[in-house]
């Protein structure tokens, strides 16, 4: 084992810090402070994406030949750390972390040429059309259908939990192309150039936090070109599964958790305890935040080991363990936020949470973000495969089930 300090890495850290200190606009910084979801405020996230792209830093995880940075995993971790320290808004993940890498691996040359530049530059936002009202955890039972018609497909059905579809200009989706085949076998992966094809209707869904982050998309005889198909017809399930591999390694969510915990701790120094003094000096608060801090650090060690190439990152259960740990830690952090904010978390301040809103919040920044972050984070154990499904997958690496 060896993790000597690397002077080159520290030089890199300085370069990153210098850029991140100066490049973001005031609105982008504000959006970062008002991010209470995995999805940052749309306009500022896209504006920041474009700025990072101009610097060449929009897609550190991409291969260099497609516009990636060519950084080592350690450099990527340093970048993530410096990024979070400054409360900058995360770039929207659907394009950069999902459809982009998928196209790099499985897209045709024509698809790559057509779509990758817009993804990399932050010109396009892709919404994800996987789930359906009756196909959630049991995704393979999806029924939204595409019937071939000449060079096109005709799509009928609906998709739900299509994040920010009403702000998207493109969509990737799974459709059923063979109703006779077994569940997973009749599914096809499609790219849609537009979300305003005739027959498409988008309905935003208000979430518990009061924001229309999710949407439902209805398809009524929507005609789309077959050229948007990734992989073979009826082979969409393996295409979708391929996406999973991009969740392995290279991710760095612990800096966000650590930063949020730091915000909680800072706020606790300004929060009175009903037992006297400030909350930060209260023994119960200290024990509870200490326990959470230790668990976040363990998660960070887990991430860093996987980034370093240690076998822990190649465990078949890695993606599921990663998802379980990060989602449950973010919920625990959100509970600590709510606890520190106390009753002050209970004023609905949707206006004040808008970037650029000229509305004075009722309390501190933590008071403002605690409740929407807490509520939004309830979804982390549900989306992208519920944690129940993830635990099934982890257990399968230990005991095979019936």
């Amino acid at each position: 084992m060896d993790i000597d300090l690397d002077p080159e890495l520290e030089a890199f850290r300085s370069e990153v810090a210098a850029f991140l200190d100066t490049a973001p606009t005031a609105a982008i910084r504000e959006a970062g402070r008002k991010t209470t979801s995995v999805f940052a405020p749309f306009d500022e996230a896209m504006a920041w994406h474009k700025i990072l792209h101009r610097k060449g830093w929009a897609a550190p995880a991409w291969p260099a030949e497609y516009g990636g940075t060519g950084w080592s995993v350690a450099q990527r971790y340093v970048f993530a750390e410096e990024y979070r320290k400054r409360d900058l808004p995360p770039l929207l993940p659907n394009s950069l972390k999902m459809v982009g890498p998928l196209l790099i691996d499985l897209g045709t040359d024509a698809q790559k040429r057509k779509y990758l530049p817009g993804i990399l530059a932050g010109e396009d936002y892709w919404t994800q059309g996987y789930s359906e009202p009756n196909a959630g955890s049991d995704l393979a039972s999806l029924s939204c259908s595409a019937v071939a018609d000449g060079d096109d497909y005709i799509i009928n059905g609906s998709k739900i939990w299509t994040t920010l579809a009403y702000r998207a200009n493109r969509m990737f989706m799974l459709v059923r192309t063979d109703k006779a085949a077994k569940k997973q076998e009749g599914i096809t992966f499609l790219l849609l150039d537009r979300v305003d094809y005739p027959g498409m209707t988008i309905r935003p869904i208000i979430g518990l936090d009061g924001f229309p982050e999710q949407c439902e998309v209805f398809f009524d005889n929507v005609r789309v070109p077959q050229s948007g198909r990734v992989g073979a017809e009826n082979d969409g399930w393996s295409v979708a599964k391929h996406l999973l591999k991009h969740e392995r390694g290279g991710s760095a969510q612990s800096p966000t958790l650590r930063r949020y915990l730091e915000l909680v701790r800072e706020a606790a120094f300004a929060t009175p305890s009903p037992f006297g003094g400030v909350l930060a000096h209260d023994a119960v608060f200290q024990r509870d935040i200490g326990a959470l801090e230790a668990d976040i650090e363990s998660y960070q060690h887990f991430e860093k080991l996987s980034i370093s190439g240690h076998a822990i990152g190649r465990d078949a259960a890695f993606p599921s363990m990663n998802k379980i740990m990060s989602s449950e830690l973010s919920q625990r952090v959100s509970v600590m936020m709510r606890r520190v904010a106390g009753l002050e978390a209970f004023s609905l301040q949707l206006d004040a949470l808008q970037v650029g809103a000229n509305v004075e919040p009722f309390g501190s920044q933590l008071d403002l973000m605690a409740m929407p972050y807490y509520l939004n984070s309830r979804a982390t154990t549900i989306y992208a495969g519920t944690n129940e499904v993830q635990r099934d997958l982890v257990a399968r690496t230990l005991v095979s089930r019936r």
């Binding site: 955890s137 039972s141 869904i205 999710q214 209970f346 004023s347 009722f362 309830r378 549900i382 635990r391």
Partner: protein, 385 residues
């Protein structure tokens, strides 16, 4: 020992449940919340007709002389139907304070009971004031009356109220049990500034600044109000816990229904042991919370509820309520995360109930702060031969 509702209480519950079922479905509630007023006049009027607004007050004051058990019988249903009307804030706290101070205040209590006027309780000062002795807002003697300076926060129904019942410190410093007063304030009065807002759980509330608000002598409801404030908070806490328990019951029933009907992988999701066991834990939590509610309310009716009992009830209602609600959201999956389903609104309601009058964290710790036990601690000779 009998912990069942009386026939009269059961009848009152039936009447209220029938009314709410007919009139107060989730869409109606949404509309009331969207109005920003925090209540619907017709609903409030009907509550008055049912006698709910008169329920806890002595007959001499125009009330029905109901007990705390009567209140719980009602409040459970208010929680079950997610009623946003300020029964707790207006009736169980503000009007309760009026009744307990014997203040006529121009027949204000009678008007509240009739549903003609609203009162609000201005007590909270930020971050969840668990202990009334921490009240800091100052009431100074001024001319023939008093002068108020300070801020009250999270005054539920504050912007809708005709009068505010304000807790204030007339002597001593925050932390002193004595020196607390109750005063009646007209929100239209000079020096009173309201910042109305909506709470996360759909209630109308306001932060209230009081800057040099000069009150006449008769605005003083009580100059030694510690015991009254304690009693009001005790009653309001029990009613709030009953609301929370009602919400828990609804969450359990709705989630069990959903698990029985929602299919994934070709079977109801309740077939999965992980879901089934979560439901079992929800039922256990609900059963505990309701047993504690009924037992301690009976103690309170008999005049035997101690501060310890109140901490047990409030602590359990808060912790078990949040556990049930979070489990309900998780079991509902994506739809549980939407504003369109009641589930998330129940979650917000039990969170708010926990945050008022001391969280479960607070009350558990208070419970743990027991005095040295009477029995001597060191093992005696011969104890272990």
């Amino acid at each position: 020992m009998d912990f069942n509702f009386t026939d009269e209480q059961a009848m009152l519950r039936d009447n209220l449940a029938r009314y709410l079922q007919k009139t107060y479905d989730f869409d109606r509630r949404k509309a009331i919340v969207a109005s920003g007023e925090g209540y619907a006049k017709d609903v409030w009027r009907h509550f008055a007709e049912l006698g709910l607004l008169a329920l806890p007050f002595p007959e001499a004051a125009g009330g029905l002389g109901g007990s705390i058990v009567d209140v719980v019988a009602v409040a459970e249903l208010l929680g079950e139907y997610l009623v946003v009307e300020p029964y707790g804030p207006a009736v169980m706290t503000a009007a309760n304070a009026l009744a307990r101070t014997d203040a006529d205040a121009g027949g204000l209590l009678a008007q509240v009971i009739a549903g003609d006027r609203l009162v609000a309780f201005a007590h909270e000062e930020g971050k969840g004031l668990a202990d009334p002795s921490l009240v800091a807002l100052k009431a100074a003697k001024a001319d023939a009356g008093y002068r108020l300076d300070g801020e009250k926060r999270y005054v539920l129904g504050g912007a809708q109220a005709d009068r505010l019942v304000v807790t204030a410190r007339i002597a001593g410093a925050p932390g002193d049990a004595g020196g607390l007063a109750l005063l009646l304030v007209d929100p239209a009065q000079a020096g009173v500034t309201l910042r109305p807002f909506q709470t996360v759980d759909g209630r109308a509330a306001a932060h209230v600044r009081l800057d040099g608000v000069v009150l006449p002598a008769d605005a003083l409801l009580s100059a030694d109000a510690g015991a009254v404030i304690d009693a009001v908070i005790r009653d309001a806490t029990i009613a709030l816990c009953a609301e929370a328990v009602g919400a828990m019951g609804a969450l359990l029933a709705r989630t069990a229904d959903y698990a029985a009907t929602r299919k994934q992988f070709g079977v109801p999701i309740g077939s999965f042991q992980a879901v089934a066991h979560r439901l079992a834990d929800m039922k256990i939590a609900y059963t505990k919370a309701r047993a504690t509610l009924l037992y301690i309310t009976a103690q309170a009716e008999a005049g035997r509820a101690t501060p310890r009992d109140l901490s047990i009830l409030k602590g359990q209602a808060g912790q078990l309520g949040i556990a049930i609600a979070e489990a309900a959201v998780q079991t509902h999956g994506g739809v549980g995360m939407t504003d369109e389903l009641a589930i998330g609104h129940y979650l917000k309601r039990v969170l708010a109930a926990d945050a008022m009058f001391g969280t479960s964290e607070y009350h558990f710790r208070v419970l743990g702060q027991a005095a040295t036990p009477a029995k001597t601690v060191t093992p005696q000779e011969g104890d272990l031969p």
